[in-house]
């Protein structure tokens, strides 16, 4: 049974990777835009915060903001399935909803990690970003990516149209990354935003990544655990919608 599940999940991973590569536009833009943003705007951050902190802030701002925008990759792939009615078609096979979501999620996770790795690499290679612990950074990036994937999937199973999805991702990403202190440091924000910030997964992403860059294992693990909590919550919502038929195409 387990190896049948693995076979089906493997087939779905291959298929979803193929679909992503057949329509590479969204992926390409979400890979190129953050690199352009970082190159153009890092001087502003360095001027405001000094060379070291400024580069780190610029990299985190780019990484967190644009990875949130990239959530729409998982979202649109799920919503497209609902629009094409293939969601129910695959559900009518022996595929478990967890296999279906895993088959969708893994190619997206790889794409999101690649995006974030590209930003970090540019920061290190071109801007002198210091990474004190690569393993901690990998943990933080992975937990953040899982949170993004879960949230993207949950939202795609809740919305009723591509335009609603686009609005949620674009507006939501900007709000969550701003609340998190990604674009502008929290210290420069009004008090009410500083109080509200911990409710944002973007806050914990910045927290985890800052801690990882400085080599602080305790803070990295704490923040990563919170991100996994967001992941779990989002996955439960996604699974509930997927298994109880409320994500059926007929609901669109």
């Amino acid at each position: 049974m387990l190896h049948e599940a693995a076979h089906r999940t493997g087939a779905l991973i291959r298929h979803n990777t193929l679909l992503m590569l057949r329509e590479p536009g969204p992926l390409a833009s979400r890979m190129i835009l953050p690199l352009a943003f970082l190159i153009l705007l890092h001087p502003l951050y360095e001027q405001a915060q000094g060379a070291g902190r400024g580069v780190a802030q610029a990299v985190l701002a780019t990484l967190v903001t644009f990875s949130m925008l990239a959530m729409s990759i998982v979202g649109s792939s799920i919503l497209t399935e609902r629009i094409w009615h293939t969601w129910e078609r695959v559900r009518a096979t022996a595929t478990h909803p967890v296999e279906l979501l895993a088959g969708k999620a893994l190619p997206v996770i790889v794409a999101l990690l690649a995006q974030q790795a590209a930003v970090i690499l540019l920061g290190v290679a071109a801007l002198g970003l210091t990474v004190k612990s690569l393993p901690l950074l990998a943990v933080a990036l992975l937990c953040w990516t899982l949170a993004l994937t879960g949230m993207g999937a949950a939202l795609a199973l809740l919305v009723q149209s591509l335009s609603a999805m686009g609005a949620c991702y674009d507006i939501g990403a900007m709000i969550l990354s701003s609340l998190g202190g990604a674009l502008v440091p929290l210290a420069a924000m009004p008090a009410w935003i500083r109080h509200a910030a911990p409710a944002s997964p973007g806050y914990w992403a910045v927290f985890a990544l800052q801690a990882a860059l400085s080599g602080d294992a305790g803070r990295t693990m704490t923040a990563s655990a919170v991100l996994l909590g967001f992941t779990l919550g989002a996955c439960l919502v996604a699974a509930a919608r997927a298994t109880r038929g409320r994500a059926r195409s007929a609901q669109l």
Partner: protein
């Protein structure tokens, strides 16, 4: 192969299914017919596990489909009414995915894709994106995703709706072949002649129940068709005095055409000619689905 008993499904105050019963044996093709809203699609959704019934039983190959959905779904191939294909992928990609989800691997999967494509005349378009295929080619691709893996139970929900004759012919041939190989087939359609081509028995659905079940010939044989005649003074009524009383009782004039409800058109035509009527054209309309629905609705109303 398929046993569905006492299925009930309500959406608010509307009963989509209200005691739906249907048994389909291995090698049997059942034409599930009924007006829109009769419960056909809800039935298919329950059998495939997409919707849970409020009560009732579904067994597929001896497996309780409501308790062990995945074991049941392994035995089903379904082509839903709405198109459900990955438009940005090729026909081959779609078939490979559904073949893999049906448990096929490697050379078995490749062979199955090639075989079902040949059967449904898709070999030449396997490498094309589904979004660029014609409507008929997409219909055949959709059916192919259900047939691949040779499932023991096929659920085909209006697979030829809007299809061209070439597509219809290929699909019907493939369905016949599967039934001959032992698959049980539930085939929903509004087009009775297809069911006659398939040699299917009928299950007539109405208001969430199966109200008639049996061979098409036996269900329809007792129903009157119509003898339609036009006279040499087309456009004016045929003189009623020339019609035998037995025919006049059953006759009505529609746009200058005399239509006589008839269970024996040759005899009625002979009676017409014997009465001295001289039609310039004669046509016989066989009883059809609408006649069956009307007759069954009348019976149900009388029973109520």
């Amino acid at each position: 192969m398929l046993v569905a008993a006492g299925l009930v499904k309500r959406y608010g105050t509307t009963a989509a299914l209200d005691g739906f019963n249907l048994d389909v044996g291995a090698g049997e093709i059942v034409g599930l017919i009924g007006h829109n809203g009769a419960g056909k699609t809800t039935f298919v959704e329950i059998v495939t596990g997409l919707v849970r019934p409020d009560s009732g039983l579904v067994r597929i190959g001896g497996v309780n489909a409501l308790r062990d959905q995945r074991a049941a779904r392994r035995m089903i191939g379904v082509a839903p009414q709405e198109q459900a294909l990955y438009l940005s992928a090729t026909a081959r990609d779609n078939l490979r995915l559904f073949g893999a989800l049906a448990g096929l691997r490697r050379s078995a999967l490749t062979g199955a894709v090639d075989r079902v494509a040949a059967e449904l005349q898709l070999t030449g378009v396997l490498g094309q994106r589904v979004g660029l295929l014609s409507g008929g080619q997409r219909r055949r691709t959709q059916a192919a995703t259900a047939l691949i893996g040779d499932p023991p139970l096929l659920l085909l929900d209006e697979p030829t709706a809007g299809a061209d004759p070439e597509t219809r012919g290929a699909l019907l041939a493939a369905v016949r072949a599967r039934a001959q190989a032992g698959a049980a087939v539930v085939y929903t359609t509004h087009y009775l002649p297809e069911l006659a081509d398939l040699g299917a028995t009928l299950a007539v659905a109405r208001a969430g129940r199966v109200i008639a079940r049996g061979a098409q010939r036996s269900l329809i044989s007792g129903l009157p068709g119509e003898l339609r005649v036009r006279f040499d003074d087309a456009g004016r009524k045929a003189p009623p005095s020339t019609l035998p009383p037995a025919l006049a009782d059953r006759a009505r004039n529609v746009d200058g055409e005399l239509r006589i409800a008839s269970t024996n058109p040759p005899a009625d035509l002979a009676a017409l000619l014997a009465a001295g009527c001289a039609p310039i054209s004669v046509d016989v309309r066989q009883p059809d689905l609408d006649d069956l629905y009307r007759a069954l609705a009348k019976e149900a109303a009388h029973a109520a």
